[in-house]
C-alpha cells in the first residue's frame, strides 16, 4: 500500500516537531549559558571546582538549568545496572551545593 506523499510529510514534520519543542524548552532553561559569557565562565569553574571537591566526574553532571546565581545539575553515576541519580544546585557565588528542593535567595 503506498502512503501518500502529503501524509509522509506530515508524519515526518510531527516526528521533528515533538522533540524540537522539548529541546527549545530546555534551551530556554539554559540560555544564560549561551548569552552571558560571565555566567558561562562562572558555571564552568563552579562545576570543575565542585567535581574536584566531591570526586565526581564531569561526564556524570548534566546541566539542566542556569540562572545568574545558580546552576541546576542532574548527577547520574554511570555504572553497570541501575544508576544512582539525584538533583543538586550549585550556588555560583560561593560554589556551595544545595538540594534542588531548597529555595535559593
Amino acid at each position: 500500500m503506498r502512503v501518500p506523499f502529503s501524509l509522509q510529510m506530515a508524519i515526518f514534520i510531527t516526528v521533528l516537531l515533538i522533540p524540537g519543542v522539548l529541546f527549545l524548552c530546555q534551551i530556554w532553561r539554559l540560555h544564560p549559558l549561551y548569552t552571558d559569557s560571565s555566567v558561562r565562565e562562572s558555571v564552568r569553574t563552579s562545576m570543575t571546582d565542585v567535581a574536584a571537591r566531591e570526586g565526581w566526574l564531569l561526564s556524570d553532571m548534566l546541566v539542566t538549568g542556569v540562572t545568574a546565581d545558580h546552576v541546576r545539575l542532574h548527577h547520574r553515576e554511570h555504572l553497570r545496572g541501575a544508576d544512582r541519580e539525584f538533583c543538586v544546585m550549585i550556588a555560583l557565588a560561593d560554589r556551595s551545593l544545595h538540594s534542588c528542593d531548597e529555595k535559593l535567595s
Binding site: 510529510m9 515526518f12 521533528l16 570526586g55 565526581w56 553497570r80
Partner: protein, 402 residues
Amino acid sequence: MRRKTELIIAGCLELLAVALAKWQALGGVRTDEAKYLLNIPYPHPPLMRWLMSMTEMLPFQEMFWRLLLATLIVQAVWLVWDLTNPERSGAKSKGHLEDRMMICAGWLLSSAVLVGAGSILLAPVMALQTLVFLWLQTRSDVSKKMPAAIALFWLATVFTTYTGVLLFPLVWNILRRGGCTIAQTALYVFGPVVLLFLYTLTNPLALAIILVHRDEGLRTGLAAQAMGFGTLWIIGGAGVASAVGTWGILRSRDKALLLSFILVCAYCFFSITPRYYAVMLTPFFVAGLWKIFHARRHPHAFPLLGCLICASAVITWFVQPIRTPVVAREVMSAASGSGTVLISGPFGHEWQYESRSEVRRYRPEFTKDAAAIVCLNPCEPMFDTSGWKQLKDLPVEAWVRK
C-alpha cells in the same frame, strides 16, 4: 539451489562475524566503548548509546553488542552485492562476476572492517549507514515510494554520530532522484540537522567537547594531520581498494558521492581522529571500485583481488586490536564489593563499566566510606593503610578493606 548457496555463504560470513567479535573481546571494554554501553552523554548524539544502554541489565551486554555489530557489518556485504547488480546501473552486459567479487572483497577485506567489525563503536555504525545510502542511490524505486522513510533513516543517522551530517549530499541526491521538490528535499535533509543542532544546545558538555576537539585539531601541524589522514586512508581500503576506489570516485560524475567523500576526508584530515575512524572511508572506496568496474568488463579483477588479500593481511596485522585485557577488568574483579571505589590519577570510562558501585576520584576524606582504592598515580596524600589490604599480582596498586 540458489537459496541454499546464499544460506551457506551467509553462514560462512556469520562465522567470520563471530570470529571478529571474539577477537575484539580479548581486549575487554575500552573507554570509548564504555561511553556508549553506559549511555554517557558525550561526545555523540543519544540514539545509539541509548539503545545500547537499554541492555545494561544483560550480564552479556558487551558480547551481545559485539556480535550484533559484527554481524551487521559483515552481512552488509549483501548490500554491496546488490549495489553492484549490473541491472541497476543499466549496464548492458550481465556477469562481471569477478568484478562484483572484487568489490565485495573491498568491503570484507578492508583492514578497517576486519579490525572494527566487532568493536562497540559508532564509526562502523556510520560506515554501515553510509553503505545503505550508497545502496539507496541505486534504488530510485525506493526513494520514489518512501521518501519520508529515507528521511527518518537520515534522522536516525544524524542522531547516531555527529559525523553522519557529512553524508547530506548523498541524501539530497537520493531524495531529488526520487522526485521530491527542492523544498521537500530541503525539509527532509536539513530538518534533522536543525534538530541535531537544537539537541546539542541542550547538552553543554557535548558542545564543550566538540569545541575542545576542534581547537586540538587546529593546533595539530599539517604534517601530523597529513600523516594521520594517510594512515586512515590506507587502513580504510587496505591500500589497494583505497587507491582504486579513490580513483573511481574522482573520475566518476557522481557529484553527491564526491562531495560526501571530500567532506568525510576533510573531517578525518583536520580532526584528531583515532584509527578506527578509517572504516568511515571504506564504503566510499567500495562505491569508487564499482564506478571503475561497472562501466565495462575489467580485465584485472582477480590479480587486483590477489593484491588486496596480501595487502589486507599485512595491514591488518599491523593495526590489529589489543588482545591483552584492559587493566580495569582485572582490578575491578579483584576489588569488587559494595561501597565506593576511589581512583587516583586519570582514568577512562572502562573503570565505570567494570565497577558495580560508585566510582569517585580519590580524596583522603572519602576513604572512610570507600570499599576499594586504586592508585593509578600515587595516592597523595596517602591514606592510613591500617584496615586496608593491598591486592597482590595486579598491574596497578589497589587496596581493599580488610
